[in-house]
């Protein structure tokens, strides 16, 4: 089982943050939790079967404000389908991920285009997310050495530091993750290979969605680009839904939805 390092990617992919059972306190002010147990718990926490959700994305930049509504389907770790519902100009535009492949479907010109590796770091649908964020698979336990660094009082939880293991090639050298006592992510900071803070993500508005308690709202802030941020909010989520077998296929992608 791999645990995506990108909590927020899980968030985006909806397989994330799904806890079938209440997490229960894992450590408290009395003492830090055991790292291995915590990671194992996070593994379980993020394990998912399938989901259907409605999401609102707000893109803020110094000169542009945009709001998009999406409908998203996921199955396991490898299959994702996102379809834009509004604004009308983009409605029907879809992104399909199967394994490491990513396609965009453009209804206006009725074309499906596979995203080339060279554009993986490009913006996904004009947001601050990259295409890579939808595809990138990496494992905390495999790629990073994790340890609990300190107690956080407000909000109550623990800071984890994840340092890339020697020889692991990836965008991030270090990740700081704040996990609440409820074992939900609160904040995640990504540091690039030069040790600079590159992205900051905050998770809040914890509420019951689809029968589970999870943060419904996330903000992604790119460092060094003042005024730029992307907000993502669940409107509704359904978990463990039975999906048609061809949900994540190109032919289905091209069908009129």
């Amino acid at each position: 089982m791999t645990l995506g390092t990108h909590t927020w990617r899980r968030f985006l992919l909806l397989g994330a943050l799904l806890s079938p059972t209440p997490a229960g306190p894992a450590g408290s002010a009395a003492g830090p939790p055991d790292v291995d147990r915590l990671l194992a718990h996070l593994d379980d926490l993020y394990r998912s079967t399938s989901s259907v959700a409605r999401i609102e994305i707000r893109v803020h930049s110094p000169r542009i404000e945009r709001t998009m509504r999406l409908r998203a389907w996921t199955r396991g770790e490898e299959e994702v389908l996102v379809v834009i519902e509004s604004p009308p100009r983009e409605a029907g535009t879809a992104t399909l991920r199967v394994g490491q492949n990513l396609w965009n479907y453009l209804p206006r010109i009725a074309r499906t285009i596979r995203i080339p590796p060279a554009m993986m770091l490009g913006s996904w649908m004009g947001t601050d997310f990259t295409n890579d964020d939808l595809v990138k698979e990496s494992s905390i336990r495999k790629d990073f050495d994790a340890r609990i660094t300190r107690r956080s009082e407000e909000p109550a939880g623990w800071w984890l530091e994840l340092v890339a293991k020697p020889g692991v090639v990836g965008r991030w050298a270090r990740i700081e993750l704040l996990v609440s006592d409820e074992l939900l992510p609160v904040e995640e900071r990504h540091f690039d290979r030069k040790g600079r803070l590159a992205r900051n993500m905050r998770f809040d508005e914890v509420k019951v969605l689809g029968g589970r308690r999870l943060p419904a709202h996330m903000v992604l802030i790119l460092e060094g680009e003042p005024g730029k941020r992307t907000e993502l909010r669940y409107l509704d989520v359904e978990f463990d839904v039975r999906l048609a077998d061809d949900t994540f296929s190109l032919s289905r992608l091209e069908q009129n939805r």
């Binding site: 000169r63 945009r66 834009i84 100009r89 453009l106 206006r108 010109i109 285009i113």
Partner: protein, 410 residues
């Protein structure tokens, strides 16, 4: 100091040893001719590079929204572009001005997408001298586009094929369109060849939600050196208020260095003439005075003033230098003139070298047309004359100090 009779005598003296004088003249003349040919090649190359650099991609000056050059963000646009262009074109020093859009896109002929760049260009204006579309026959209009040769190869497309183009509008929205490949282009600009999808400006403005907007206005002045003045005036235009207007030297400083380097290399070559002239004149005149020690002693004994002797030696040096440099100039000018007409293929000279070099994103042809620089001619002549004078000093001083009795005993 030097009368015509002295000059006449000096000239006659020079030819008392025909072979030596001929050799000295040949050395000086060939050096000057070489300098002019080299200078011509450098000048031609420099001109060509300047033309390539300030040509289709960089122009003589550019206007952008502030910060656009830093991140090339789609939404950093110039507004009211047509008004700004109209104002710019009224400037008598502006030969041409055209607006451009640069939009990174995903392009696909089939299912596989490739990274590409849509260049929205003003087809009519860019067809002019140093425009991107100079010499391109295919018309750009509507959804008909031209694509760079390397990109076409990668995409596997030919003229007539349909291409899907997906990018982001200036308003952040998704831009997608099907375009028809009208033709393939090979331009001096690497970016265009590798990634370029050249689209008519109005179509690009519509596709990327940029009504009357563009990312860049490229300005071509009547001459590169007028760029700073044009920039100065452009900054004051109402249509470009708030825009960043820069000349080519500011935009591409590394290219300026290259052009300067080519100019500096010429001075190195100029040293060659100094050395050739100095060696030729000094050697010839020293030999001549040694040979004629007895004769000079006789002249002194007969009452010739030492000053006259010195004057004669200097006159001989000068005559040697001037005649040599004039012959060389004639030869050099003739060679450069011929080479200018036919062009010199540097790649043929260096066997196996490529016909084009790519430097800083520009393809620079290896075929150059040497051009005569009047400054080089004058500098060469002055250099030889000065050197001849200096080189005559030693033999002249020696001759002037001769003691008649001792000299006649030689």
């Amino acid at each position: 100091m030097v009368g015509t009779s002295t000059l006449r005598i000096a000239w006659r003296n020079l030819w008392r040893n025909r072979r030596r004088t001929t050799l000295a003249l040949a050395a000086i003349g060939l050096a000057q001719a070489l300098v002019l040919v080299y200078g011509g090649v450098f000048q031609g190359y420099g001109d060509w590079m300047l033309e390539s650099i300030t040509g289709p991609m960089i122009g003589h000056a550019q206007a952008h929204a502030p910060e656009w050059r830093r991140d090339r963000a789609m939404d950093r646009t110039l507004a009211h572009v047509s008004a700004a262009l109209a104002e710019l074109r009224r400037d008598p020093d502006v030969a041409a001005a055209h607006a451009r859009i640069y939009a990174p896109v995903l392009a696909a002929a089939g299912e596989q997408g490739y990274a590409a760049m849509v260049l929205g260009v003003d087809a009519a204006s860019e067809a002019g001298p140093a425009g991107l579309l100079r010499g391109v026959a295919e018309p750009l209009d509507g959804r008909r586009v031209l694509i760079g040769r390397s990109l076409a190869e990668m995409l596997g497309t030919r003229a007539g094929d349909t291409l899907a183009v997906v990018g982001q509008g200036a308003d952040g929205s998704l831009a997608n369109e099907l375009v028809v490949v009208a033709g393939l282009v090979q331009t001096p600009v690497d970016l265009v060849n590798r990634m370029g999808i050249v689209m008519a400006l109005p179509q690009a403005q519509e596709l990327f939600m940029m009504p009357d907007r563009a990312h860049e206005i490229l300005i071509r002045a009547r001459a590169p050196e007028r760029a700073p003045a044009v920039v100065e005036r452009a900054r004051g235009l109402a249509g470009l208020a708030g825009a960043e207007v820069l000349d080519w030297k500011t935009i591409a400083p590394q290219l300026v260095e290259l052009v300067d380097l080519v100019g500096a290399a010429w001075y190195f070559i100029l040293i060659l003439v100094f050395v050739a002239a100095a060696a030729g004149v000094a050697n010839t005149m020293l030999m001549a005075t040694y040979e004629r020690t007895h004769e000079l002693g006789m002249l002194l004994a007969l009452g010739t003033r030492p000053g006259r002797i010195v004057g004669m030696i200097v006159a001989e040096s000068l005559a040697l230098g001037v005649v040599g440099v004039l012959l060389g100039t004639a030869l050099g000018i003739a060679t450069v003139a011929i080479a200018h007409r036919t062009g010199v293929d540097l790649s043929a000279l260096a066997k196996g070298a490529p016909e084009e070099l790519s430097f800083a994103g520009l393809s620079v042809s290896m075929r150059i047309h040497p051009t005569l620089n009047v400054g080089h001619v004058v500098q060469g002549i002055v250099a030889v004359v000065l050197t001849s004078l200096v080189a005559s000093a030693w033999p002249a001083l020696r001759a002037g100090r001769l003691q008649p009795m001792e000299a006649m005993r030689e």
